[in-house]
Symmetry: C2
């Protein structure tokens, strides 16, 4: 069965898209730790990040760099933190999280509750700052 | 002034080394969240991970994949989690953390206190499983 992320890529489930390349895709986490929390995934459905072929793993991280530069311009923050956990959705994904302190990356924290309008607006500002 | 990590690379400060390549270096975090918690750094002292040139960023992540494969073989765990925060030491570093649950990556948690012998032993087992 296709992962929820594959359904997002295929447009079967809606998302707040940030950017895509031939093999990678970025969209907002709808249960964000902070505003601007973004997920970057390979279009190919591979569960574990370290099972990605070298070339795709490198490409995914370079795409994440481009996305991070856009988030930095859109969201006031110290820098963009990176996290890969991958125990919940069996489709490798990189969390890009605008941070101001070490405690900002803590998946045990309660998530922000943002309205559809806020997510839409956030995605739009990041998109506008994305340079392909 | 050289970062603490540059001093480690240069051998001015001791470390529990895991592996190195021409441009990357891996060693145990001495304040680990869990046993096997490893840091991977570029030898070049660059503060922010997304300021690394593309080629070096890709190389650092591919080196991290190799190191992760070794950690997985050495330390019983579900998979290796990845985290980059970078607000404390101004020298980019990737945390590789053996995890069994989402809560295992939480830098607010108190760190493990391992003896020198335990760290030495852990480094040795990971080293032995490293394939360059």
């Amino acid at each position: 069965m296709a992962s929820i992320f594959t359904k997002i890529i295929n447009g079967e489930i809606p998302c707040y898209k940030i950017a895509e390349s031939e093999r990678c895709f970025a969209f907002l986490d709808i249960n964000p730790l902070v505003k601007g929390h973004t997920l970057v995934i390979p279009k190919q459905e591979i569960d574990y990040i370290f099972d990605l072929p070298d070339e795709l793993l490198a490409e995914l991280h370079l795409f994440s760099k481009q996305v991070s530069k856009a988030i930095e311009k859109a969201i006031p923050c110290e820098r963009i933190g990176v996290s890969v956990i991958g125990l919940e959705v069996p489709h490798a994904h990189i969390h890009l999280i605008p941070i101001n302190s070490v405690g900002d990356i803590n998946f045990s924290k309660s998530k922000l509750s943002l309205s559809g309008e806020e997510l839409e607006e956030t995605a739009k500002i990041i998109q506008q700052n994305f340079i392909a």
